[in-house]
Each structure stands twice: as C-alpha cells, then as structure tokens.
C-alpha cells in the first residue's frame, strides 16, 4: 500500500500539487485521472521519487521514501516497476536485453537464468519470438507489452504506468488494460495508473483518484463513478455522448 499525505509541489511560483492525500491499495489497479495540466504527471513523478516535494509525505508500506538513506532508496526502487508513456525502451538493446536489464543490474543471476526469466515474462505478456528484435522493429502495442515485461521481470511490489494506452488502437488498449489488471491481481502488487482513457476507468478502475487544478476533487471506484453527482467528475468523465449513454444505461440497469 502507498499512503500519500498532504502532498504539495511547486515549480517556482506555479503551485502544482496543493495538498493531496490518498491511499493506493495492494492488489488493486489504482487510477489517477484528470484533465491535462491537473498535476497527474507531477503527482506520479513525486510518487516515483523523480521529483522532490515541499510538503507532505509518501509512504510505501509505512516507510517514508524521502526519509530513506540512499541505499534504502536504491533497494526500494528495485521493488518498483514503471511503464512509461512512450515505453522508454532502450534503443540500443534488443527486446530480450531490455527485459533482462533490471535483472542484470540488481541480481546475481547467470545469463541463462536471466534469459529464462525474460522468456517467462515475455510469454506472460504474450510476446513470443520477439526476443531478438530491436524496439524500433516492434509496434506500439508490442513496445508497451515489452515495457510491462521489463517492469515486472524483477517481481516488483509496485507497478506505475503513465498513460499506458496512449497512441494505441482501442483493441490493443483493452489488451494492455486487461494485462495490467491480470498482473496486478496475479502478483498482488500495488498498481498506480495515470490515464486519460475513460475506457480504462470503466473497465479496470478499482480505485480512481480524480485531480483538478492540483487538488483531489473526487475518489472512488469504477462503480461509484457511474453514480456520483460530483459535477466536476461528471463533466470530465461523461464529456462524450457515448459515455453519457453508457452512464444512463448503467443507472437504468441498476435501479
């Protein structure tokens, strides 16, 4: 579990996060949603320790990240897997080498052991026979799956995903969403996803945190989001006619 308490972050005069408190539960897919500029990416980067923050605290299973020693932070980071928006695969390495990279850096496994583990996770994300391809030879969906494989190869306790569906066709986006959901439950990890994709919100949002102007405007689950009267949330989530219809149908079915 990750606990965030009264988190504040500024860049110069721009106050980006204005005191966010929430928790992200273990074994659940926790989604951060909100308009562009609402502070989602800054929030995610604070969670990852890529940005320092002025006030508040972020605790991983009770351990406050900012208060850890360098060695402890390093150990903590080894427990974190991250899927970047653009996949962030290393261009100069093959897909297999990308997946083996965290093992090379943090374990003392032999090359054959690392290859076995890489093959296992590549199979898990349904990528066979792609080991020797370079990232540039893979499609966007394949690259995302490699990024997920790299993120989970070292058995992380926390998985962070920044816009995992961006740039993907709807069918591939669903595949990626389901994959993340399955992996979260299978490995019992705390997953935090930063997304704009309302389909993800409806499908895999065990917990949803809605940010607006650097503040937490709402939080709940995918079921709560159909029922909420919070105008800020409904304006954003049901901005398209399709989702308005979906909501109407959901309410009709459940009354």
């Amino acid at each position: 579990m990750i606990e965030v308490t009264n988190l504040e972050k500024s860049f110069g005069d721009a106050h980006i996060l204005k005191g966010i408190s929430t928790t992200f539960d273990k074994g659940k897919t926790n989604l951060i949603i909100g308009q562009s500029g609402s502070g989602k990416t800054v929030f995610l980067k604070c969670l990852l320790g890529l940005f320092d923050y002025e006030k508040g605290k972020i605790a991983y299973e009770g351990q406050v990240f900012a208060e850890l020693s360098e060695a402890e932070k390093r150990n903590m980071r080894a427990k974190i897997g991250m899927v970047f928006q653009g996949s962030a695969l290393f261009d100069s390495m093959t897909i297999e080498e990308n997946v083996m990279f965290p093992l090379q850096m943090f374990t003392k496994q032999s090359k054959s052991e690392m290859q076995d583990r890489a093959n296992f996770v590549l199979n898990r994300v349904k990528l066979k026979d792609a080991n020797k391809k370079m990232p540039s030879e893979a499609s966007g969906g394949m690259q995302k799956r490699v990024a997920i494989a790299r993120a989970i190869v070292n058995n992380p306790k926390y998985l962070f995903c920044d816009e995992p569906n961006s740039g993907l066709d709807p069918k591939t986006a669903i595949v990626i969403d389901n994959l993340i959901k399955e992996i979260t439950e299978e490995y019992d990890i705390t997953t935090v996803i930063n997304t704009h994709d309302m389909n993800s919100v409806m499908e895999i949002g065990d917990k949803i945190v809605f940010l607006k102007d650097g503040l937490k405007a709402w939080e709940g689950s995918k079921d709560n989001i159909f029922q909420t009267d919070n105008e800020v949330v409904t304006d954003f989530v049901y901005s398209s006619n399709l989702f308005k219809k979906v909501r109407r149908m959901y309410i009709e079915d459940n009354t």
Partner: protein, 229 residues
C-alpha cells in the same frame, strides 16, 4: 558521475561499447583526414619555398612540427567535437526526451554514472587516435613529397629528424588528454540536461559542437602559452 557506480559487469560492457563507438569508430575518418591534410601541409610548405638556399629537408621538418604540435591534437579534436561530440549529445539527448533516462532513475540507477562515466573512460584511449593521426599525417606528407616531386624521400626523412624536441610530444599528448576530457564531458552535459523534443536534440548537438570547439581552442591557447613559451 562517480557516486553510486554501476555494477562492474555492466560497466565493463558499456566501456567496451563506447570504445568501439567513440574510438575505433573514429579511426577511419581520422586516418583519411590526417593522410590528406598531412599531404596538403607538405605541398603548401614546398610551394612557398622558392629560395634555392633553403634546404628541401625543411619540408619534412615543417610537416612534422605542424602535424605533431597542432594538426593532430587540435584540428582532429575539433573534428572529433563534430563527430563524437554530436553523437554523444544526440544519443544522450534522445534518451532524455524518450524518458529512457527517467527509466534508469526509476530503477535506482545513477544515470550520470551509467551514461557518462563509460564515455569518459573510453576517451582515455583518445591519444591512441591522435598517435595514428600524427603517423598518417607525416606519411601523407611523405607521399605528397614523393608523388609531387617536391623533395626526395631522404630529404623528407632528414627533415623529420632535424631539431626534434621530445617535449613537443609530451605537450601534444597532454593537450590530447585534456581535449579527451572536454570531448567526453561538454557534449554529455548538453545531452543530459537538455529539455524539449526532437528539434531540441538537434539544437543541443549544434550547441554542443560549438561549445566543445570553443573550449578546445581556448584550452589550446592557454596550454601552448603555459607549456611552450
């Protein structure tokens, strides 16, 4: 750059890769340029010696001095600022804009050490490239002399041996080592700390080339004043 070092088994591979990319990969262009510029220096010197009282061996002497003191260490380093410097800036800059550096940081890897330190170590072999430039510059001069009929091989070789001051080699290699440090660090800085997208990677590469060249030229002046005057 030196804090929190990357695992040695990984670092070893990175250093070998950078030696291949930065040092071995530069030998071809350095050899080509050195050979022909050495030849041009010889031709220019010979064509400007129209006084019959000046011995023809001076062609070899002038080529040796030009190549060892300035052409190989400085001129080649400015060329390397374009070739190696742009490569370093654009490769690290691309990693920055595509979040590959963030990926390293999230994994708890000291990205500066991972990316810059191997380049720094690889470029300690840069004097080897400059030795080749010196040798081929002088051989190019010899070839131009012989094929152009400006002086005999004996005159050229006699000129090469005249008034040879070993400290000039020490001076040249000291400069080279310092330039190697500049070639590893200035372009890395411009790549690592760049902001923006693909367009900015191109701009950062150009800026890096300009600044690397400026630093090399200024250091060259300062070192020459300190060591030779």
């Amino acid at each position: 750059m030196f804090r929190k070092p990357t695992k040695w088994s990984v670092m070893k591979q990175l250093i070998l890769k950078d030696i291949d990319d930065l040092v071995i990969g530069s030998i071809g262009i350095v050899a080509f340029i050195s050979f022909f510029v050495g030849g041009v220096v010889t031709i220019q010197t010979a064509l400007n010696m129209d006084n019959p009282l000046i011995p023809r061996s001076l062609v070899g002497f002038a080529t040796r001095q030009s190549v060892i003191l300035e052409f190989a260490p400085t001129f080649i380093s400015v060329i390397m600022a374009g070739k190696v410097g742009s490569f370093i800036t654009s490769s690290i800059g691309t990693m920055r804009v595509t979040e590959q550096i963030d990926a390293l940081e999230v994994m708890g890897i000291n990205s500066l050490n991972y990316l810059v330190f191997p380049k720094f170590i690889a470029l300690t072999l840069y004097p080897f490239v400059i030795s080749i430039a010196m040798f081929l510059g002088i051989v190019g001069g010899l070839a131009a002399c012989v094929f152009g009929g400006y002086a005999s091989i004996d005159d050229y070789i006699t000129g090469l041996q005249e008034d040879f001051i070993p400290f000039h080699l020490v001076y040249a290699f000291l400069k080279t080592l310092l330039f190697a440090f500049v070639l590893a660090t200035v372009p890395s800085y411009h790549g690592y700390y760049m902001k923006g997208g693909a367009l900015e990677v191109g701009k950062a590469s150009t800026t890096s080339f300009v600044w690397t060249s400026v630093v090399i030229i200024l250091l060259n002046y300062i070192l020459t004043q300190m060591l030779l005057s």
